[in-house]
């Protein structure tokens, strides 16, 4: 009995540790193969965007260049004033020493990537080296291994950040492609998205913007955006949605992490797709003309409910969670909440957030299917 008690106790303890490991957030690895993306024909706006994506992604620059004090917080500092000051610093003896202007700054940035110890900003050197040796890795060497095009893209981004016209050359057909590495992490495959439709679908843009006949109006319609905004402005709106707020819309509504979650090439593909959208939704996109949904799940997908509501793990939180709604509301209340969303507002949520024209968009059979589906959703 003693033996069994001891073994039972030990096994329970082990299972407790294992259970705790499962309770914590799981960082799912990207197991996709590296993909090479051609940069041929990229204009400077796209190149800058690519540079930002590399700066925050493959280049891993933001691991240290942030507000934690490990390296200068490049994204927050006034780089327009900082670069000239660095070049004029008597401690700087590098390739751009004594020079001025954007070209000199390009040389300085490039040097800081390939020879980080050429100049170490005061207070950021390796311990005990009196700021003569930088802890920064050489970015064209392993493990980062940026190629010349990628370093030029980062330089363009940093020059643009300082309000300068980038002086780096745009990539040509002879240049090496950009290597998109899968993120080091762990688990499910996350394939690189190569079409605008796939990216829009993956990131749920049509849940808030009128796109593909969604009729959503939480954000501005994306139709005709190519005529209202430049390519650079579209990229900026995706990466930094609060930088410019369209009239009639609110700040802090659109997720601000697309710059981190989208890969560089995906950002460019998405931008090109949006720029090429027609001025208005084509008639064929009208949802009334789409085939009727025949199951609750189809209807939910068709009207994009999971874009705003947490539904089967979508984790959206613009509207209340839908799992378990059958325990909180009756079928009639759910029906009312769909066709007249302002009639009942759940605690912690605001009115006028949900489109109020589902009654027009949905067939009665689709409405019934959705209500039945939601009422039977588990917690």
């Amino acid at each position: 009995m003693t033996f069994l008690r001891v073994i039972g106790f030990s096994v329970l303890l082990l299972l407790g540790y294992m259970g705790f490991a499962h309770m914590l957030p799981q960082v799912v690895p990207d197991t996709s193969e590296p993909v090479e993306v051609s940069t041929e024909g990229l204009d400077m706006d796209g190149f800058i965007a690519l540079g930002e994506s590399i700066f925050k992604g493959k280049g891993t620059c933001t691991l240290c260049h942030n507000g934690m004090g490990r390296a200068p917080d490049t994204l927050e500092m006034d780089m327009a004033a900082t670069y000239p000051a660095r070049l004029a610093d008597p401690r700087y003896k590098g390739v751009a020493a004594g020079k001025e202007g954007p070209k000199a700054i390009e040389e300085y940035i490039h040097e800081s990537m390939v020879a980080p110890s050429a100049y170490v900003v005061e207070g950021f050197g390796k311990k005990g080296t009196n700021d003569t040796e930088s802890p920064m890795p050489t970015v064209n060497m392993p493990p980062i291994e940026l190629n010349d095009v990628e370093m030029n893209a980062v330089t363009a981004f940093l020059q643009d950040l300082a309000g300068l016209e980038p002086t780096v050359p745009l990539p040509s057909a002879d240049d090496a492609p950009v290597a998109e590495e899968p993120a080091a992490g762990g688990g499910e495959p996350a394939p690189l998205l190569t079409s605008g439709e796939a990216i829009v679908d993956e990131y749920g843009c049509a849940s808030c913007h009128d796109l593909g006949g969604s009729g959503a109006d939480l954000g501005p319609s994306l139709y005709g955006i190519g005529k209202r905004m430049t390519r650079a402005e579209v990229i900026e709106s995706i990466i930094d949605p609060n930088a410019v707020i369209a009239e009639g819309y609110e700040a802090d509504f659109m997720p601000a992490d697309f710059g981190e979650s989208l890969r560089g090439s995906e950002l460019l593909v998405l931008t090109d797709y949006l720029m090429a959208l027609p001025d208005a939704a084509p008639a064929a996109d009208d949802s009334k003309e789409e085939p009727l949904a025949t199951t609750g799940l189809e209807a939910i997908d068709k009207f994009g409910c999971a874009g705003c509501h947490d539904l089967d793990g979508s984790e959206a939180d613009i509207g209340p969670k839908l799992n378990g709604i059958g325990k909180r509301m009756t079928a009639d209340e759910v029906k009312t909440a769909i066709i007249d969303p302002n009639a009942i507002i759940a605690d912690g949520f605001e009115a006028d957030m949900m489109p109020d024209d589902f009654a027009d968009q949905m067939d009665d059979s689709e409405l019934s299917l959705i209500v039945d589906y939601l009422m039977n959703l588990p917690e």
Binding site: P25, L63, I144, E315
Partner: protein, 585 residues
């Protein structure tokens, strides 16, 4: 020792330090320009859908568990053997012998699993093995030879125990034990060189071509921090497993005399486990500081990136170890008649230990989704966020260590009444040591908040110094003050059954923790076999999720527990005699 023996030892040392002097001369010219292999995904053997990584992971971890035990017990044995000589108490000697007997059974299993590990590496990762052999050359032969020497010294040490038990012969026996431990530690240091080379390669150029000596590859930036960390961890681990064995025997025995013996063994083992454990956070801190110094990216991957959650599990494991070890010490107060007068302090110590545990558990820099950031109101929690940074955690860890030592000191004091004239002053100095030390630890912690990041690390040094000063200072004062003290009777065996379960927590948590740390250490290389030099292009080159890793670690730990049960059973089987056989003889 004869001169020829000394020369032989010196030759062995030279071979270890720089075996390429002898072994690598012929092929070095050919190898010097050849970079590390670059296997493609298709170059990795796929055998019947078997997960190569899981096989190698399991074999490596199991080998490490067994090797840690087999290396730790002789350390444990020689220390207790020495105690028997110093105190003249045969109980120490008997205990040391009892545990060497268990090591004998575990040793062959260690070799067996090590062979399995080598085979699985050769089968599944042939290119990596080819490269490591090219870098370390003759050192691998030295390793094999030392393994043979380890076997010889182990057998001689154990089987000569009774023949060399008394008088000067005891010193001969201890010398053999010392040699055994020297060889064992050397083996560990060599294996550590291979593992740390994979994390921080040295003696090779950026393409992986061998440009330096074996000694340069051995003496890579993370070798010594890893050596120290594993050395201390082995002591704690060995103590914890022996403690678990003693606890089981305590529970199983009915004879009060034997129960008392196993209670004493459990106490001594727990003491050794804590002794090894107390400096372990500092060794871990040094290791992590060296990782940051070698590669900030690697450091951030561990502490602020995709592996950050693992350190929350580590905190839970160490927290349970601390709580269990303290609970056992508090329970021990009932062994002495004067223990009750110290029991009133236990609740305060418990508050500090639990409070420190909770601070250590508080996360800080984590990968968050947009929704999580929104729910949290920022990237860090407004109230708890400040508890997640290093100054708070360092303060918590140091206080936990100081108060764990206090728990031990209370029990030690409960069985001794000082008789020296300066006892009152001595006690006041001890109290002052604690008060000043704790103020210093808390003060340095607060300073850590108001100083730039680079100085936060520096602020931890006075905290560590304060902790060590309290511990070492108290031990020295107690040593003199309790000399000739009136000894109170310790009622060995007067312990609750529940307290013995605290002793089981230690080996279980230690084993799982070692598995977790192995996962972290290996994951730090991300998708590199040898960081920045040889890429891992195998289909399983990604970091598995925490849950998946938890499953594997739990399975390996269960396997190790099963092996340990078998080893303990074997050692008891050796003592069992068939009824009537003695009469027949």
């Amino acid at each position: 020792m004869k001169l020829s023996h000394l020369l032989a030892l010196f030759a062995a040392f030279v071979l270890l330090v720089s075996p390429d002097l002898v072994f690598a001369a012929a092929d070095e010219a050919a190898a010097v320009l050849e970079g590390a292999p670059k296997p493609s995904r298709l170059d990795y053997p796929l055998i019947g859908g078997v997960s190569a990584r899981t096989v190698v992971w399991s074999a490596a971890q199991m080998h490490l568990f067994l090797a840690a035990f087999v290396l730790a017990v002789p350390l444990f044995a020689i220390a207790t053997e020495f105690m028997s000589v110093v105190t003249g108490d045969d109980r120490f000697d008997n205990m040391a012998r009892e545990f060497m007997k268990i090591t004998m059974a575990a040793y062959s299993l260690t070799a067996l699993v090590g062979g399995g590990l080598l085979l699985s590496l050769l089968v599944f990762y042939p290119h990596l093995m080819e490269y490591l052999v090219r870098v370390f050359r003759g050192q691998m032969l030295i390793y094999a030879m030392l393994f043979g020497l380890e076997s010889i010294t182990l057998y001689v040490y154990f089987y000569s125990w009774d023949a060399l038990r008394r008088g000067n012969r005891k010193w001969y026996h201890m010398s053999i034990g010392l040699l055994l431990n020297t060889v064992g530690l050397t083996l560990m240091f060599i294996a550590n060189a291979w593992v740390s080379f994979m994390m921080s390669p040295a003696g090779v150029d950026p393409t992986g071509a061998v440009t330096g000596t074996v000694w340069e590859a051995t003496r890579n930036p993370l070798w010594n921090p890893l050596n120290l960390h594993r050395f201390l961890a082995n002591i704690a681990y060995g103590g914890a497993i022996v403690g678990g064995y003693a606890a089981y025997m305590f529970l199983a025995e009915k004879d009060p005399e034997k129960k008392a013996h196993y209670d004493w063994m459990g106490y001594t083992s727990n003491f050794i486990a804590i002794l090894g454990f107390l400096p372990l956070p500092f060794a871990g801190y040094w290791l992590m500081a060296e990782i940051y110094a070698y590669s900030q990216q690697m450091g951030i991957t561990a502490m602020g990136g995709i592996l950050a959650w693992l350190f929350i599990i580590q905190a839970v494991l160490i927290g349970t170890i601390m709580l269990a070890a303290n609970y056992y010490l508090w329970s021990g107060l009932m062994r002495t008649d004067r223990g009750a007068q110290y029991a009133k302090y236990v609740k305060y110590i418990a508050v500090v230990i639990v409070g420190g545990f909770l601070v250590w558990l508080t996360p800080h820099t984590l990968i968050l989704t947009a929704n999580e950031i929104q729910n949290l109101g920022g990237t860090h929690h407004k109230i708890l966020g400040p508890l997640g940074i290093m100054p708070a955690k360092n303060t918590a860890v140091n206080l936990m260590l100081v108060f764990t030592f206090m728990s031990f000191q209370l029990f030690y004091r409960s069985s001794r009444i000082p008789t020296v004239s300066w006892a009152k002053s001595g006690n006041m100095i001890v109290v002052a040591l604690y008060v000043v030390g704790i103020i210093n630890i808390v003060g340095a912690g607060i300073y850590g908040y108001i100083t730039p990041t680079v100085y936060k690390v520096g602020a931890s040094v006075p905290q560590v110094v304060s902790t060590l000063t309290i511990i070492i200072g108290s031990v020295i004062i107690d040593m003199f003050m309790l000399r000739g003290a009136k000894a109170e009777k310790v009622h060995w065996g007067r312990m609750t059954e529940r307290s013995q379960y605290a002793l089981f927590v230690l080996p279980v948590a230690f084993t799982w923790l070692m598995g977790l740390m192995g996962y972290i250490r290996s994951s730090l290389r991300t998708n590199w076999h040898v960081y920045t030099v040889m890429k891992d292009n195998s289909p399983e080159n990604y970091i598995p999720t925490l849950g998946d890793a938890g499953n594997v670690i739990t399975a390996i730990t269960l396997g190790f527990m099963a092996i340990m049960v078998f080893v303990f059973w074997l050692s008891r089987l050796g003592q069992t005699k068939q009824k009537g056989t003695e009469d027949a003889a």
